[in-house]
Amino acid sequence: MNWYRHRTAIWLALILAAWGTLKVCWEQGIERREAELRFHGYTINRDLRDQLGQGMMLGLLSGFRGVVADFVWLMVTNSWQDKQWFRVKSMVDLSTTLQPRFIPFWDLGGWHLAWNASVDRRNNRDEPNELRRLKEERYWINEGKKIYERGAENNPDSFEIWRSLGLLNDQKLHDYRAAAEAYAHAAAVPGAPVFLERFPGYMLEKAGDDAAALEVYKRLWYLPRDHKVPQFGYDKVEERIRALEAKLKVPREKRVFP
């Protein structure tokens, strides 16, 4: 065999074999890192293709995931204006699948379902049966809640979704303990607004658990902070502690404000 004549082919095979091995390992490493950073949103399958249609699927395959997600989101807005709530839901699902790290998709998507869809169904004049209207209302509130829960699971570093979940539990489901828990999660996220720290206390008071609420306010009061900074809202904390200590008849020696 004339090795000299085949030297190019041999070189090619050697280069590609060496590079191929390194390449696969490198790509696996990048993929692992992206999974750690929670960048993996979707897998390309027939379901996705059916939902997106041919044009948008081509856009997705050409690397324009963000633009495709934006177009899907525009459809959410159109469907919301037309009150096509099931379409809103499926489009919200699709856009959050494509870009799970864009918080407003979760936040606004949940709001469309839990607030807009539920109120629309509650006031549905075509449905004379009030029980059925209430059932529909509850259905959309729960769908909104599911969006928030999935959003929070995908974005544990976002206070916005936890805050929205707290608001939903408070105002729509009147589950104040769950609301307190959600607000506590929101407040614990670095960079969350400090006023959220008081919300678990307010919610526990609404739930009728004054003792637990007092503990929340006391914990805030004893944090090593400058109490004069207005952002911390210590005037409100003090007001609540005083009120709860009086209400719970806490002995003077055990009070924060004897």
Partner: protein
């Protein structure tokens, strides 16, 4: 060594000048229109949505036009030289084929860098104009309102600044450029054995699309188990060995969506791109050296 670099530089400069004479940069006009229109089209959306749309459409337009330039421009490089017979004049001089090929590729990279830079300037201009308009609107709305409303307006202004002056966009632009460099490299490699520019464009685009599915192929190859038959495994393995994973550039979408992408990750992707381009060029040179002109 230095003489070789001078020759490469001369060929690269010539390639860039030729491309600029073909009025490739006219595409920038189109880009500018898209960026400006997308910037002002979605005024009814929330602040975060508006900026996301603007960034997505602008970076998307950069990618599309860059892809067109990389594909069309690179695919024509060798066929044009062969058809016009200028390649014979060049290679008759003391210029190696490898220097010719590297020079051509560097010229294409310079063209892509020029267009990306100009598009980035338009993009920054549009985003800063949007920022100014939104801040003015916030200030106008907050005028004569109570302290609470003014505090809210200040929060919104902070948010607008944060969205408009996001330094992570530099990462997004760098990664877009890297992706285009890979496409140009692939097109150049294919054009070393292709017989027509159309073949090069079609094949490169196909490889580009397959590249976005490479991670699926790799996963099936590595973890498919008995579900994937032997022939399919061989095919998927070859695909994973040869085709670049274009999905690694999808991190651009994460940056625009507001995720914190560490620079170490970006540099890792850029290093992968660099090594991949070196391999592409080596293979292209090997094939081009053997080609009968």
């Amino acid at each position: 060594m230095f003489e070789s670099l001078f020759r490469i530089r001369a060929i690269a400069r010539n390639t860039l000048t030729e491309a600029l004479r073909q009025k490739v940069l006219n595409i920038l006009l189109l880009f500018g229109v898209i960026a400006i229109v997308s910037g002002f089209l979605f005024a009814n959306f929330t602040l975060a949505e508006q900026f996301k749309f603007l960034k997505d459409f602008s970076i998307g337009a950069m990618s599309v036009f860059g892809l067109l330039i990389a594909l069309m421009g690179t695919a024509q490089l060798l066929p044009n030289e062969i058809e016009n017979r200028t390649i014979y004049t060049i290679l008759a001089k003391p210029v190696r084929r490898s220097e010719f090929l590297i020079g051509k590729y560097c010229g294409m990279l310079a063209l892509l860098a020029t267009t990306m830079l100009l598009m980035s300037i338009v993009f920054v201009g549009v985003i800063l104009t949007k920022e100014r308009l939104m801040i003015n609107a916030e200030l106008r709305d907050a005028q004569g309102t109570n302290a609470e409303m003014q505090a809210m307006a200040n929060e919104n202004i902070k948010q607008i600044h944060k969205e408009a002056r996001d330094p992570r966009l530099i990462q997004a632009i760098l990664l877009t450029y890297a992706k285009l460099a890979v496409v140009a490299g692939l097109a150049l490699l294919i054009s070393t054995f292709a017989t027509s520019a159309i073949f090069t464009v079609a094949t490169t685009f196909m490889v580009y699309i397959i590249g976005h599915l490479e991670s699926v192929a790799r996963a099936a190859w590595l973890t498919g188990g008995s579900e994937v038959n032997f022939a399919a495994k061989i095919f998927l393995g070859v695909l994973s060995f040869l085709v670049p994973d274009m999905n690694i550039y999808n991190v651009i979408d994460e940056i625009i969506a507001g995720s914190a992408v560490p620079w170490s990750h970006t540099l890792n992707v850029l290093s992968y791109t660099g090594i991949f381009l070196l391999i592409l060029m080596s293979v292209a040179i090997l094939i081009f050296n053997e080609r009968e002109l």
